[in-house]
Symmetry: C2
Subunit: 365 residues, 2 copies
């Protein structure tokens, strides 16, 4: 019979079809099939052969083995996003942005949670490197981060998001933390607050340093004397925000307003204030940072500094792909101008107006 020569088809068990098997069935060399499948423009293929092979490709629904392809071509079409914790809505939205930016270009995206541990970050990156991911988006970096230096040395394309490292000229996308913090603080001053507390981030993280500096600078500009006792390191967790707030409100002369380094920190503050039997904003006004979806759903709504989180992700993906395509590290930095969103946690009753109505697009479950 025709086509039953010494083809080494193994149709016994269902195996993903390979180029060689197709070549045998079409009685041509594997390279020919490859050129047809890839529409190789440099080689001329007889119309008859081509259509025969194309029919076969369609019939078997051939998909090249990505692993083999990756080995030969030295590109895996896989990116990685490294973050502290996807359970934090900020990072979930960020990841969505990255995927939305990368998927249309054929990339899949790995997600790695570090829980803020430099060791886990490092081991994740070792693993990613071994898998030859094409690029990394790193949102869990800290200042003087050896991981970033290692990425530079290994010439692995990467983009930092939200936080940056060193004075580095690495590709970066984030918000203008200094400006955002000044806007938040200024808002509280304008509301008449004199004693404003700050739930600070860590001094090892760029956002922690810059937002604290913005807070201090704005106080200075407004002619208010900063009180060191009003600045408490709270970290980025809800629990940290809660305990720091308790300390702040137990002071002899407690603050009447609080600027939290992060929305999640502010959420912790909400809980602490409530448990102490105080009212928001009458007794304590609260401002956060990032405008995560949760911020608009709290009661009262959380006044916060809006950051286009999803866009951070898509832009980062774009920068990374640019870097991968060009082959050279482009040190572009994209810094968004943050904008204050006023809600009920600083101005009583404002949630009933349009400002409080922000509805975040939560998708189907």
């Amino acid at each position: 019979m025709l086509g039953t020569g010494k083809t080494n088809v193994n149709d016994g068990c269902r195996m993903p079809v390979t180029l060689k098997q197709l070549a045998a069935r079409a009685r041509v060399h594997p390279s020919t099939v490859s050129r047809v499948a890839n529409r190789d423009p440099r080689l001329r293929i007889a119309a008859e052969t081509r259509s025969r092979i194309e029919a076969l490709l369609r019939e078997t629904d051939y998909r090249p083995n990505g692993v083999a392809r990756g080995l030969k071509l030295r590109q895996s079409l896989v990116l990685a996003v490294v973050i502290p914790d996807v359970t934090n809505p900020f990072f979930a939205a960020l990841f969505r942005g990255v995927e939305d930016g990368a998927a249309p270009r054929g990339y899949n995206v790995l997600l790695c949670n570090t829980d803020g541990s430099p060791e886990r970050q490092h081991s994740h990156l070792q693993s990613l490197h071994a898998r030859r991911v094409d690029g990394v988006i790193l949102a869990s970096t800290y200042l003087e981060d050896p991981t970033v230096r290692w990425l530079r040395e290994e010439r692995i394309p990467f983009v930092l998001v939200n936080r940056f490292s060193d004075e580095g000229q690495d590709a970066f996308v984030g918000s203008d933390d200094l400006r955002g913090a000044r806007a938040a603080t200024g808002h509280l001053v304008e509301l008449g607050h004199h004693r404003i507390g700050h739930l600070a981030g860590k001094p090892t993280v760029s956002t922690g340093i810059l937002r604290r500096r913005g807070y201090l600078e704005e106080l200075g500009t407004r002619g208010l004397e900063p009180d060191p006792r009003l600045v408490v390191e709270a970290g980025y967790s809800e629990a940290g925000g809660a305990s720091a707030t308790e300390r702040l409100l137990s002071l002899a002369s407690p603050p009447s307003a609080i600027f939290a380094v992060t929305d999640m920190t502010a959420v912790g503050a909400f809980g602490a204030v409530r448990r102490m039997g105080l009212r928001i904003p009458e007794d304590v006004a609260i401002v956060g940072y990032n405008d995560i979806p949760l911020a608009s759903r709290l009661v009262p709504g959380l006044t916060t500094v809006h950051v286009p989180i999803h866009e951070l992700g898509t832009v980062a993906a774009g920068l990374l792909l640019e870097q991968i395509d060009s082959g050279e590290p482009r040190q572009r930095r994209v810094v968004f101008n943050p904008k204050l969103v006023v809600r009920g946690s600083t101005v009583a009753g404002i949630d009933a107006t349009a400002a409080g109505r922000a509805v975040w697009p939560f998708a189907t479950e």
Copy 2:
């Protein structure tokens, strides 16, 4: 000089070191280096050679090329999680569970968002298959899902989570939806509600069907006549929950309580009830499903059916790895017994007690 023979090292540019390069430097065959690196138990290596090679491995910090390894070994050490949207806290927690279960075994995890679109789901899975992922965790399936059949046919290891497909005997981990829905409905009945509305899921999704059935069955058991007008399809989004609630509350004789198919749906109901100027729980009591972190932070807290979301993920990962290791599809089904958590959205004032204090571990940002 020693060691400067015809070694084909190319130390001009920094390339990831390969087995061949190391072999050349150690003056042995690549296979020998491979065996040392892999601690191949079957082959005996002279102590001197071994230590020489081991020193070299440490010195160069050698990591085998995962792509080449994957090609040869037919395993990529990559899993994929397919969900509608990671921005939904339910799926974020689920993903964390999967990663926490898989990472210790050396796996990295791809995350794919489908936005509930069968087309996107299908194209994602095509792509995953081409990349030869070792297994898939699918949480976005619907009934009579061609994707699932395709997975079965291709013999790709997979586990369904939360929702299942067909009557299938596929590996599955989720909660007992029928029981959870009955508990939620029964709770409302016991509080004295006679007209209980249901914000239903889609009839194409197992959770939608089962939770609706549980609601109806419980009403029957309690001797209440189900009213078809009180069941409105709301889907799984906040917006869907809001608009469905508006319809429900505009009825001639509106319900005094609502059971929502999902916490996010319930969140939508919260907003709608508030906008209509009604009080929770005095005018309308609300119950959700899943107990996402957000549920305990709403004011009042959302009464809901607790599901161990993170554990769903780790267990699913375990099942999947078991399947991968054994080479055979194990059709184990793990069904958790859900437990009602009562908060202020059904019982006024209860949030001040311990029940409302559930603090979810949000990690650092």
